[in-house]
């Protein structure tokens, strides 16, 4: 992998964002709207429930912000790829001396920048509006973030592989894939709420351990290393599978001439 070429591809995305007000607004717009919505719903629930669930605001807003980290990381990869498809630039990129690994690394790195900007904005807004301190989680925030970013990368790679195989007809998956996991991943409620059969699915999703772990840290101040280990192990598995699938689909795209068709669609 040539890091210089990765850097240039990252710079390319930065140029695109610098010149597109809509894309820049998008980095803040949806997360901010979600935060406002969840924040006020939470405040309302707390008032109605008269504090029946301690730290409800913290749990839900924390979950919403961390979910956004995962979602934005996945979107960073998939939308960057789709962007090249939409503007019919994909062939220019792959006719240039650029490896698939360099391209994916660039989309991921730029996704990280987007996640960073969104996260800092949300953290500031949540503190200002709801007195929620994201950094109350302290050190635990780092392993949580690492696991969410790796899962975002894995999902982004898997989604890109599927779009590469099925073309633009599958582009709705770019937004749908993370939400397929959300009901089972214990984002806003504990795993114990789910029926036993769904708990099995929940335990196979890496971010379940992050959200369970987050609630544990906020409630008791204890960081569960076993949760961290499970999340990391599953992430390694899914990322490995995702990369294998992407390489396989890229091979298939070369076999069936899909890159050209994707560009000319």
């Amino acid at each position: 992998m040539n890091l210089r070429r990765v850097g240039i591809l990252v710079l390319r995305y930065a140029f695109v964002y610098r010149r597109s007000v809509i894309r820049l607004v998008e980095v803040w717009f949806w997360p901010t709207m979600e935060l406002l919505l969840w924040g006020y719903v939470t405040l309302f629930l707390q008032r109605v429930g008269e504090g029946a669930v301690p730290r409800l605001v913290t749990f839900l807003i924390g979950a919403m912000i961390l979910w956004d980290v995962l979602y934005r990381a996945q979107q960073g990869i998939t939308l960057s790829f789709l962007e090249d498809v939409w503007v019919r630039n994909l062939l220019n990129i792959f006719c240039a001396p650029v490896r698939l690994s360099e391209y994916i690394a660039a989309t991921f790195l730029f996704g990280l920048v987007r996640v960073g900007v969104t996260l800092i904005s949300l953290a500031a807004l949540a503190w200002g509006l709801y007195h929620f301190d994201l950094f109350e989680m302290g050190f635990a925030l780092i392993p949580f973030m690492v696991n969410l970013l790796i899962l975002g990368l894995a999902l982004g790679v898997i989604t890109t592989a599927i779009i590469l195989r099925f073309g633009q007809a599958a582009e709705a998956l770019a937004w749908a894939v993370p939400f397929l996991l959300q009901p089972f991943a214990a984002v806003f409620y504990p795993v114990s709420v789910l029926p036993p059969s769904l708990q099995v699915i929940a335990r196979a999703i890496p971010c379940t351990y992050v959200f369970e772990g987050m609630r544990e840290v906020l409630r008791t101040g204890t960081f569960r290393w076993d949760h961290f280990g499970w999340a990391l192990g599953l992430n390694a598995l899914y990322l490995g599978l995702g990369l294998w699938l992407l390489v396989r689909m890229f091979d298939l795209a070369r076999e069936r001439g899909l890159l050209g068709r994707l560009t000319m669609q």
Partner: protein, 254 residues
């Protein structure tokens, strides 16, 4: 197949089958340094597939492609640094300026003194005044010329051009043809050129390959082709091949 000792591109028995359909059928040819070869054929004849095979975007079912004496499958990245491609069906990000787009591609191709080189190609294509324009706001003719600038950035030794004058008015198309000839003379770039415009082919190409259903059914200089088919224009040859290519294939095979 004509043997070229100084061949930049060698295609040998190239075949591509998509789901049982033969898109490219045992195609063999080579291109020497400084030679412009036209790849002609009706829609679906296999021109674009052949270009994509040469670029390594499609994997051949069988056969071999050597560029600069190296196998494209094994040395794709090194080879791509020394060649380039322009197609009427491919665009650059619309919200970047012409200069930004060219600068980024210059970096990807590892062009030294990128700024000077960009200024040079913009002058060459007579679009220096568009330097700060966003590519999304250009006319299709201007966009085609920006694409050609991108294709010339790395001073390629092999240039693949897929219908480079398709969206140009006759005046600009003429300028582009002259420019390609000039580049060929001065820099001795080898070019593989597809077009439906027979005037392009007659004016620009040293040699023509006619494809029909994935096979080369006629090959030679424009003059040789006209003599062979006993016609006055390449357009007549094109129509004859498109309508009775099967017969010509069997005659050639006999």
């Amino acid at each position: 197949m004509r043997r070229c000792e100084d061949a930049v591109l060698r295609v040998h028995e190239l075949t591509k089958v998509f789901d049982g359909i033969v898109a490219v059928d045992r195609v063999s040819f080579s291109i020497s340094r400084g030679e412009i070869v036209g790849l002609l054929g009706a829609n679906g004849a296999g021109k674009t597939t052949t270009l994509h095979l040469i670029l390594g975007l499609i994997r051949p079912t069988s056969g071999r492609i050597e560029i600069f004496g190296r196998d494209i499958e094994r040395h794709r990245i090194e080879i791509l640094r020394r060649m380039n491609f322009s197609s009427v069906g491919v665009n650059l990000p619309p919200n970047l300026t012409v200069w930004e787009n060219l600068w980024l591609f210059a970096q990807l191709y590892g062009v030294s003194r990128a700024q000077e080189r960009i200024a040079e190609v913009l002058e060459l294509l007579e679009i220096a005044h568009l330097r700060d324009a966003r590519t999304g706001r250009l006319s299709s003719g201007e966009m085609t010329r920006v694409n050609l600038c991108k294709a010339l950035l790395n001073d390629p030794e092999l240039l693949l051009l897929d219908e480079p004058t398709a969206s140009l008015d006759p005046n600009i198309a003429d300028k582009v043809r002259r420019l390609l000839r000039q580049i060929q003379r001065e820099r001795r770039i080898a070019m593989l050129y597809t077009s439906h415009n027979m005037r392009d082919i007659e004016e620009v190409c040293d040699r023509i390959l006619f494809l029909h259903q994935g096979r080369i059914i006629a090959e030679g200089s424009p003059r040789e082709i006209l003599e062979h088919f006993r016609t006055r224009t390449l357009e007549e040859v094109f129509i004859r091949i498109a309508r009775s290519g099967e017969i010509l294939v069997s005659q050639r095979e006999r």
